[in-house]
Symmetry: C2
Subunit: 299 residues, 2 copies
Amino acid sequence: MNRADQIPEPVAVFGPGLLGGSLALAVRRRMPGAEVRIWCRREEAAADVRERGIASMASTSVRDVASGAAFIILCTPVGVMPALARQIAACELVRDCAVTDVGSVKGSIVAALEPVFANTGAVFVGSHPMAGSEKTGIDAAREDLFEGAACIVTPPSAGEAAALARVRVFWSALGCRVLEMSATEHDRKVARISHLPHVMAAITTLASLRPDADALKCAAGGFRDTTRVAGGDPAMWAGILSENRSEVLAALRDAAGATRELLEIVEGLDEEKLRLFLAEAKNLRDRLGPGAAAAYGND
Amino acid sequence: MNRADQIPEPVAVFGPGLLGGSLALAVRRRMPGAEVRIWCRREEAAADVRERGIASMASTSVRDVASGAAFIILCTPVGVMPALARQIAACELVRDCAVTDVGSVKGSIVAALEPVFANTGAVFVGSHPMAGSEKTGIDAAREDLFEGAACIVTPPSAGEAAALARVRVFWSALGCRVLEMSATEHDRKVARISHLPHVMAAITTLASLRPDADALKCAAGGFRDTTRVAGGDPAMWAGILSENRSEVLAALRDAAGATRELLEIVEGLDEEKLRLFLAEAKNLRDRLGPGAAAAYGND
C-alpha cells in the first residue's frame, strides 16, 4: 500500500554501486519494512547484496526485480541505461509505476528513456540527486548520502503529474531538497556546478604534480579539497562528460578564458586587479553560505 | 629555561590573526606554563587578546614583546614583515634568539629578513607551516591547526645550526611534519601545491557562476570542496601570489596548457583519450592517500 506522502514500494533499484547501495540503506532507514529489491548485473554482486542484508531480495533477473515494483530507479552508468530500460519495459509493470534514474546528465537520458516506457503504463521521470563521492562501489554506500542534497527532477514531457509527484515524494522522503527544471536547464547548470569542478580538479592535479610529484609532501587542505573529486572513476566521468559534451565545452571555454584573464593580470604585475579578480570569485563563492559543509551532499 | 626538545620560551608572536592566535593556543596546549607574548598593531586587538586570556601578555609595543624573547614568530601579512623585522632587530634580543615566520612565500622574505638580523645575535630562519583556512582572524584560531601539517623550514644561508634546530623543535613540538628545503625549492613546490589550487578555485568559481549564479542551488560536495579556498581573503592572497609571481605564472601556464589539452580532447569526441586524461590525474591524486583528510592541515 502506498500513501501519497510515503515512499512508493516495492522499490526496485537497478545497480548495486555507491548510489544504489546508499538508496537501499536510505529507504530502509526512512521507511523500515519497505520492500526493496536490487538488480545486479553479476551474480557475485547479488550474492554480496544478500550477504549484506540491505535488500529484501537481490537478483540478476530483470523480470524478477521489475515485475510488480511501484518505483524503479536506474543506478547504473548512464551509457547502459537505454538497453536496460528496454528490458525493464518488456516486463509486467505496475500501472503508474514511476521509473527514474540517478544519472548526471538528463537531456540524452530523458530523450532515450521516455519513449521506451510510453504505452507500458509506467512513466519515466528523470532525476539527479546531487550526491555521491569520489569513491565508488557498495562499500562506500551510506544511508545518509542523500540527506540535505539537492535532487533535480525533470517533469515528463507528456505532463504525467502522478508519476512526477511520486518521484518528488520519494526524494523528499530521503531528505533531499527537490528542484524541478527541464532536462536542458539541468544539463546547463550541472555542467557548471558539477562537471566543470570535476575537470578543473583534474587539471589542477596535473598542473600541480606533473612537473614534480614530490611536491605532494607539502600538500595541505587547499590541495586536498581542490582536487578531491579528481579521485573519481575515470571511465564513469568520461561517460558523463561525453554525454553532456556541448555544455561541458562551453563551461571549459569559460574556464580557459578566466585563466587567460588571470595570466594577463599576474603578468601585468597589477596587484589591485589581482585582488579584484579574487574578490569577485570570493563574493560568488560566499553565496554558498557557511552551512554548506553540513547542508550539501557530495557529488 | 629551555631544554633541547622543548619549545624555546618566552615565545613572541607578532600578529594576532588566525595563525598567530592558533600558535598561542597550540603552545599553551603543548607546553602549559610557557610564556607567550602577542604583539598587535592595534590596541583594540591587544585588548581582545588579553580578554581571551590566550597569552601571558599582549601589547602594541614591539620592544616590550621582543625584548628577552627566545623565539620570535612573525604572523603578519608578508608585505609588512620587513618593516616590522627592522623594528624587532633594533630591540635587545636574546643571543641565539630564533626569529621565524609563517609566510606563504620564502625567497623574498628570507632575502629581506636574513640581513636584518645579521649582527643582532638573533638568527632568521624561514618557516611555512602548511596550515590555515579560508577564514581569517583570531575567531577562527584553533589549538590543533598545526597538528599533522607539513611545515617547511629553510636553513639559514650562513648555516646557523642552533637556530635551525630551535625552529625545527618548535614546529615538531606543535605536531608538524618538518621538511627542510631551500627557499627557492619551497617557492617552486608551494606555487604548485598551494598557490595554484588557490587560483584554480577562483577560476572554477568564476567559470561556474558568472553566467548563472542561480546554479548554486544545485551545488554539492564537488563544487563546495573544489572552490572552498576561493573564499580566502583576496588582499592577503593577492599579496602572496604577487610575491611568488614567477613560479605562480609557470604553474598557471601549465594549467592553461592542461585546459587546452582537455578542450581538444572533448572537442574531438574521443572518450578513450578523455578517460586517459582523467586517469592520469586520478593516479597522481591517489598518491595523497586515503588518510589525507585527517592527516593534513588546511591552508
